[in-house]
Amino acid sequence: MPSIKTLAQREEAGVRFTSGHTLCAGCAEPLVVRAVLNAIEGPVVAASPTGCLEVATSRFPGTAWNVPWVHVAFENAAAVISGVEAAYKALTKTGAVKRRIRFVVFGGDGGTYDIGLQALSGALERGHDFLYVCLNNEAYMNTGVQRSSATPRCASATTSPVGEEIPGKPQDRKDLTEIVVAHHVPYAGQAAVSNLVDLANKVERAMKYEGPKFLNVLTTCPLGWRTPRDSAITQAKLAVETRYWPLYEVIEGVYKINYKPKENVPVEEWLKTQGRFRHLFRNPNGKELIAEFQASVDQHWNELLRKEKCLSGAESQG
């Protein structure tokens, strides 16, 4: 399993994602991208849908990508990588391509949970050999912090603002990881930018499998979450500690929660540190709203515990 040292050594040997991009100060995305790229051994081709990462890394005539990389549009990265991978298979058949090449997508939550969901589902069903990494920062940050289906309930976003009547986003977030699991792919999991070793280990485990692999990575956006610029790691860490963002993986249908917080940290501890939830602490109904938020977190966590128990490796081994 790659340690931070190994990742750093690999980066020194060949930089795959360079500095000089224009991602915001404090953005967690480059950490995730570098960790993922450095965790993949051998040649890799990357694709991205339209989004922060794409815009900030590919302004013509420059690029931050030192591996082959392609962007086409917002809703189709999974279809694009399907085509790249199909080309690889065909050209391997003809002998034009002789090396083993791996394929990875880095997409935001907008391009993955929402507008790109159909293309993702199609690519998962068809069984292309690729890893899809969702850089989940929980809103359309590139276009100005509009709500997505990954945005948590109550969060204030520019299209789910805090109003006189409606306190932020009324709906719960979509559980995309479980939607991917329902495609019966060999590997699906969740990681967070706060634990890069866990992330790199997951990439390494995932890449042992042929077929579609999926990683949903909580990728802090200090700008959109309205937290200090140096908060990316602590914010993600607290999301994991409060069980808001469980680190888990499903390998060939077997659930494993990679980290179970020892202490029961209320999600309120996470909410109160972020500008997007600040209104909850001023709202007369704030206590209730926070309690509902907590109930939602608990329900999801308990579901996951039950799944781990029912769909554990031990059981499958009889």
Binding site: P43, V44, V45, A47, E54, V55, S58, R59, F60, P61, G62, T63, W65, N66, V67, P68, W69, V70, H71, V72, A73, E75, N76, A78, A79, V80, I81, S82, G83, V84, A86, A87, Y88, K89, A90, L91, K93, T94, A96, V97, R99, I101, Q118, A119, S121, G122, E125, R126
Partner: protein, 387 residues
């Protein structure tokens, strides 16, 4: 060897001979049979192509773009709403200079939903940056699929190409087609040379980067230059194909009994066949009439159209789709072609054949009769419409 086959089969045969590395396709009437034939070729193992049976036309073109950027020879096919869904990515394929060739089984656009032929889909893709060829017969659909592939892959060009064949009229009717032997077809198309492929991992490139106002205009101007190159390459490839096959293909347009014509119709696609019959009938009565069929619709052959029509007194341009709120799209092209010309015929514009409405010899005769006394106007006229 001459064979009887549908337009679908003719296109599928050409695709089998071209043998693209990747075919990404989604079913839609009246295109589906092309996808079905090709899927059978793949599943029978007679082609090495990877079939990507995508979940939408948007993903079909997206997978084509990914595969083409990766370094593969790529083809697809669609119709109507499928093209409408695809068109976002078609613009991108053109902007990324990817030589993706597709058959477009021409069909109307909704609403109301209708599965039959008109040219609304082709017109929708008009400004996308793909070159477009219209075919009159299944034979032409076969021939121009091979020709289009070679044009698209020419190093001066490298843009997508659309081969239009009228839905049902050409796709579903059986006609006599004389395909080339496999070896001759393959030799004609030649091997594909990828430029800056993603799969060349030792030379990493970034595809589909974003351009701010400081570069966007120049990049689009370079793209415009690429489609301008199609004209010269089209003639070169068409000439090579004509000498290989003996077929009488020469130029962007096909004039029929036009040399001494006083009246003419300008058409795209299978309507040319109907118009030729009408012209023969009128010629027997001594009327000087002719047809101008346009093969290459984009880039539009302005100079050649102007030369072909300069001596004609009255011209009816037949558009098989509305360009709502404006004159027909083909009419606008023909009119623009004639603007710099000293000799200009009187132009009339007819909308006809929408949603698969039968296109008859009588309708063409009606147009020839009406334009005898037509004066310059900007009004639309109709053929075969119950007013």
């Amino acid at each position: 060897m001459r064979k009887v086959m549908t337009g679908h089969k003719a296109v599928a045969e050409a695709m089998r001979q071209i043998e693209p590395d990747v075919v990404a396709v989604y079913p839609i009437t009246p295109q589906s049979e092309i996808a079905e034939y090709y899927a059978q070729y793949v599943h029978d193992g007679i082609v090495h192509s990877e079939l990507v049976p995508v979940e939408s036309e948007h993903s079909a073109m997206s997978a084509c773009v990914g595969a083409a950027a990766a370094g593969a020879r790529v083809m697809t096919a669609t119709s109507s709403q499928g093209l409408a869904l695809m068109v976002e990515v078609l613009y991108i394929a053109a902007g990324m200079r990817l030589p993706i060739v597709m058959a477009l089984a021409n069909r109307s656009l909704s609403a109301p939903i209708n599965i039959h032929c008109d040219h609304a889909d082709a017109y929708l893709a008009r400004d996308a940056g793909a070159f477009q060829i219209f075919c009159e017969s299944a034979q032409e659909a076969y021939d121009y699929t091979l020709i289009a592939q070679r044009i698209a892959e020419h190093e001066k060009v490298r843009i997508p190409g659309i081969v239009n064949l009228d839905g049902f009229t050409l796709t579903h009717t059986s006609q006599v087609v004389e395909p080339l032997e496999d070896e001759r077809a393959k030799k004609f198309v030649g091997p594909f040379k990828a430029l800056f492929p993603l799969l060349d991992v030792d030379h990493p490139v970034s595809w589909g980067t974003f351009a701010m106002p400081d570069y966007y205009f120049e990049l689009k101007r370079a793209q415009a230059a690429a489609i301008e190159e199609v004209a010269g390459v089209f003639l070169e490839v068409q000439r090579a194909y004509a000498s290989l096959t003996g077929r009488r293909y020469a130029g962007f347009i096909e004039p029929y009994r036009l040399d001494d014509a006083e009246r003419a119709v300008v058409v795209l696609g299978s309507t040319a066949g109907t118009a030729k019959v009408a012209v023969d009938q009128l010629r027997e009565k001594g009327e000087k009439v002719g047809v101008l069929k346009v093969w290459l619709y984009r880039p539009f052959p302005y100079a050649e159209v102007a030369r072909a029509l300069g001596h004609v007194k009255q011209v009816a341009v037949l558009d098989r789709a509305f360009s709502f709120g404006a004159m027909g799209a083909l009419y606008n092209d023909v009119a623009a072609a004639l603007v710099p010309s000293e000799r200009r015929p009187v132009l009339s514009n007819y909308i006809y054949g929408l949603g698969g409405r039968d296109v008859t010899v009588e309708q063409i005769l009606q147009a020839f009769a009406e334009v005898k006394t037509a004066r310059p106007t900007t009004g639309l006229r109709y053929l075969g419409l119950r007013e």
